[in-house]
Amino acid sequence: MPIESQPIENILNRAEDTYEEKATQIEIENLSFWYGSNKVLHHLNLSIPEKTVTAFIGPSGCGKSTLLRCMNRMNDMIENSRYEGSIKVMGQDIFDPKLHVIELRKRVGMVFQKSNPFPKSIYENVIYGLKIAGLGEKSALDEVAERSLRNAALWDEVKDRLHESAFTLSGGQMQRLCIARALAIEPDIILMDEPCSSLDPIATANIEELIYQLKSRYTIIIVTHNMQQAARVSDKTAFFYLGELIEYDLTENIFMKPKDEKTEDYVSGRFG
């Protein structure tokens, strides 16, 4: 129906529908983190709602990527690192010694700053995680590969060349392939660490549109230095500075009427 013909109530109520409160999926409580003796996160408390996009912003060294990597315990591999506090994903403490880290990473997928396809075919890249997990039936793998590539908005571009090397793809396509690989294991949460930083504006727009489509099914957390990107793609934004959470609110509040002077200075480019 053309928008001019729609009842005014439909048009006026749409904005309110966008920000309805959702259930908490990730609960961060009093989290602190150290690299050796260097404390980089300070008593963070944050509730992240399900099926929304949350952006982490802040200057370099503010701890946003460290926090992101805590969420699927990527920091475990760093020597002399330690934490205090807790992160609960759907009520489960991810630092619980009984929790297998592989199980956690099946539920919390990650996409990195630089696309990192394996030196394998496009198809093999998508199903790699499933094969490692022991799923070997070809028809099932084919189905997952197609579904994941479709969900990553890449299927139409690669369906006729699935067995070509992943390195034949463009930068933007490689990043979407990495998203497809993350989706193949059917996570609940996708962490994205500056996923567009090495992409051109069109590839960036493609990834941003993909993020928008994926949020109906996944909880997405994106670290970005691009504040306009945070404003465009996220529902909520957290601003970090020197390892502290300065402000966390609906994105439009952060960018239109931030409560904290530091947030105001950062988003308006007056920082430093």
């Binding site: 727009a205 941003e208 306009q228 465009r232 239109m256």
Partner: protein, 224 residues
């Protein structure tokens, strides 16, 4: 590529059209209150103004939100600017119409109006046509029609001047009716202002289409 947030611009435009329709409705109701000497129509017009004020606030809010979150450029950016300024013009049309309704109600409270209304009916017809044409331009942008609309403003200005002179003459001949004649003169001025706001809307639409401000320019330079 169409971004998901482009639909928000369509929503904004739809809200503006709704607001313009409400402005046309309040103008029509207040003018009919005068021409039909109907206090109930005056009351109805006065009651409509709040909705128009609320729509302006909503449009401002949505435009600011889009400006902040979506980094608009080119025609998208122009639409945001046009939305804010057009919202102001529609809101002022609501205010002028309310003023016409209130003045009419005040006059009717003293009894039926027996004075000659001179060109008020003709002015109201022109202003309604201009506002209606401005709304059509939102749905189907057309540079030639927008320019033609701007040119019609002069006709309303001339009728207003004739009214002013005519009511002033009547004051000399009928000093007892001076207050009523002053009210009619102010109603004429309110209609003239409505036409100005409709012209402003057309000028904003020319800016939207061409990307150029036309205030202070001749029509010839716009066409070129």
């Amino acid at each position: 590529m169409n971004r998901h947030f482009h639909s928000e611009l369509e929503d904004l435009k739809a809200r503006l059209i709704v607001m313009g329709e409400r402005a046309l409705e309040i103008l029509d109701t207040s003018v009919n209150g005068l021409l039909q000497q109907d206090i109930q129509l005056c009351e109805a017009a006065i009651a409509m103004d709040d909705e128009i004020d609320n729509l302006e606030v909503e449009i401002d809010k949505e435009a600011m939100r889009y400006l902040t979150l979506r980094s608009p450029v080119a025609s998208d950016l122009r639409l945001i600017k046009v939305s804010i300024k057009t919202g102001i013009n529609f809101e002022r049309i609501g205010d002028e119409s309310t003023s016409i309704a209130k003045r009419t109600r005040k006059m009717l409270a003293a009894g039926p109006i027996t004075l000659d209304l001179l060109n008020l009916e003709q002015m109201s017809t022109y202003t309604k046509e201009m506002l209606s044409a401005a709304l059509d331009l939102f749905i189907s942008p057309d540079l030639d029609k927008a320019i033609a609309l701007c040119q019609r403003d002069k006709l309303v200005d001339e009728l207003n001047q004739k009214n002013f002179d005519g009511f002033a003459d009547q004051v000399v001949n009928d000093p007892v009716s001076a207050k009523l004649l002053l009210e009619l003169s102010l109603i004429s001025k309110a209609l003239e202002r409505v036409a100005d706001h409709a012209t402003n809307v057309a000028e904003e639409l020319i800016y939207l289409i061409k990307g150029e401000e036309i205030k202070g320019k001749t029509v010839k330079s716009i066409v070129i």
